[in-house]
């Protein structure tokens, strides 16, 4: 055993815009251990549920994380709706599905940019963020916000999307597909990108299941698991197959996300073609009483919400288990044994969202 060095990584560092601190234990250039320490973004918003009314708390739930903000609001709303046994109108379910898939596209495009920045291709970073802006334009046109939508509420959605806008949206996304071919082509076929990604940070199928990985990280290890198949919102009406890869390395995770981009565009097209007419929200009366677990598929994986209410306007207990939090043990496992220069790549391929972890 050689001499061990500890290199601190973070909290302020150029790879991620968010503060994550890792103590990397190195033997020469090889990592033998990584010790994460978190808490830089902790706000304690699970306790805030006792200070805000249950209908008001949707805004706080959306701000758990600014990237998958719509999905957090959606999860909370679904949990409360299930407790109160509210029938959400069909059209609202389809609109929710469309917004959820739009935020998946924008999150994955953002991830492609950050990953490109991590392995040193700044041009590719700019390219994918330019494509992301066109998705943000669609989101802004339909919901009014760029990152925090504020579109979901208990009992439905706050805005309707007109048929013309829906048609335009489909055309724009078809156009985006052409641009995305160029982007994903570089990630999947370029030789120099392959050198940085292939065979790095391998997570085998057994390890992924043992460490409880979720989302694209798990699917890249060959496990066919996608919470969208539970059929929440309008997903039970839409047909899709979860994207899986078998290698479990950084390249496979990249490939999973690339194929999910096309899948999301396809899902939006399906939802638009099947969109029913009618109301977009129902009146909500009374207060929730009971408890509920709700699972969703976010861009980063499975997220779990627990809501317990006691019949007052204030919810008693709210708990979120976010995908990045579950993926941290897998990330530490992947880091062990790889080179120091591959650390940014491995960290980024789990798509960490620090404000999700710490809430």
């Amino acid at each position: 055993m050689g001499k061990q060095t500890i290199i601190p990584f973070g909290p302020q560092h150029p790879v991620l815009p968010e503060p994550l601190h890792l103590d990397l234990v190195l033997e020469d250039e090889r990592i033998v251990d990584a010790i994460p320490s978190i808490g830089y973004v902790h706000r304690g918003l699970e306790l805030l549920v006792s200070k805000k009314e249950y209908a008001e708390y949707v805004y706080v739930a959306e701000r758990i994380c600014g990237i998958c903000s719509f999905m957090h609001g959606l999860g909370y709303c679904q949990a409360v709706e299930e407790i109160m046994e509210i029938q959400v109108p069909e059209r609202a379910l389809f609109l929710r599905t469309i917004w959820a898939e739009l935020s998946r596209i924008h999150s994955h495009l953002m991830w492609f940019g950050l990953a490109a920045d991590a392995f040193g291709l700044e041009n590719l970073f700019m390219l994918s963020w330019r494509l992301r802006e066109s998705v943000l334009d669609i989101i802004e046109e339909t919901s009014g916000g760029r990152v925090i939508f504020g579109a979901c509420k208990i009992g439905g959605v706050r805005r309707d999307i007109s048929p013309e806008t829906l048609r335009d949206m489909c055309q724009k996304l078809e156009k985006l597909k052409g641009h995305m071919d160029r982007l994903t082509g570089v990630f999947l076929n370029d030789r120099s990108v392959g050198y940085r990604l292939k065979g790095i940070g391998v997570l085998t199928r057994e390890d992924a299941q043992r460490l409880g990985a979720v989302g694209p990280l798990l699917r890249a290890s060959g496990v066919d698991m996608d919470m969208r198949r539970l059929g929440y919102a309008a997903y039970e009406r839409l047909s899709f197959e979860p994207v899986t890869e078998n290698d479990g390395d950084c390249y496979a995770r990249c490939a999973v996300r690339a194929r999910e981009l096309y899948q999301s565009i396809d899902l939006i097209a399906q939802a638009v073609s099947m969109m029913p007419d009618g109301e977009v929200d129902t009146k909500v009366l009374g207060a929730p009483k009971g408890e509920c677990f709700m699972r969703l598929e976010q861009p980063r994986g499975e997220v779990l919400y627990y809501v317990r209410a006691d019949g007052t306007r204030y919810i008693e207990r709210f708990r979120v288990r976010t995908p990045t939090f579950t993926n941290i043990p897998s990330m530490i496992h992947c880091l062990k044994g790889c080179d120091f220069s591959d650390v940014p790549n491995v960290i980024l391929t789990i798509d960490p969202c620090i404000s999700c972890i710490e809430r």
């Binding site: 909290p11 302020q12 560092h13 150029p14 815009p17 968010e18 503060p19 808490g39 830089y40 973004v41 902790h42 706000r43 304690g44 918003l45 306790l47 805030l48 200070k51 805004y59 706080v60 701000r63 758990i64 994380c65 600014g66 990237i67 903000s69 953002m110 940019g113 970073f125 700019m126 963020w129 330019r130 802006e133 943000l136 916000g145 760029r146 990152v147 925090i148 969202c353 620090i354 404000s355 710490e358």
Partner: protein, 160 residues
């Protein structure tokens, strides 16, 4: 305009923000908004930076980190608080781990409101910070000149 204001380098630190303002700050640097064409570069090194952009509120854990980063930056420097959380704590002001706005710890020069702050607003904030950097630079020059002339009056205070 002096050389210092031509291409300010920014350093971005995420306090306890929800990520919304962070990705908008990054979006400023990428195509469509692209402030890099004016020479504004996002750097990871506090010693290279002129402007510190803080998103999100201050909590017990990141207070020392923020102070540490700020003290490492060379003078003149400006601080921009981006987003309502960085200004007052915003929606999270009642949380137990949130101390409040960034101005509880650092002297803030520019406040950029919004939840999440729009890229146009952030760019406007950076442009205003360039003016403040310029003024601070002038004051530093005058101060050093006076110090040479009257070294016993080193306590002289200048405000911009």
């Amino acid at each position: 305009m002096s050389f210092i204001a031509k291409s300010p380098w920014i350093l971005h630190y995420d306090g306890s923000s929800c990520n919304g303002c962070d990705i908008e700050t990054l979006a400023c640097l990428t195509p469509v908004y692209d402030i890099e064409r004016f020479g504004v570069i996002n750097t990871g090194n506090p010693k290279h930076a002129d402007i510190l952009i803080v998103t999100g509120s201050v909590n017990h854990q990141n207070r020392d980190v923020l102070l540490n980063i700020y003290n490492q930056m060379p003078d003149p420097k400006a601080v921009i608080a981006v987003g309502i959380c960085a200004i007052t704590g915003g929606i999270f002001a009642e949380c137990y781990n949130v101390l409040g706005g960034v101005d509880k710890v650092l002297p803030v020069d520019i406040y950029v409101p919004g939840c999440a702050a729009r890229p146009e607003a952030i760019i406007d904030g950076i442009v205003k910070a360039i003016g403040i950097l310029e003024m601070k630079h002038q004051n530093m020059r005058i101060k050093s000149k006076w110090r040479l002339r009257w070294p016993w009056k080193s306590e002289l205070k200048f405000s911009y």
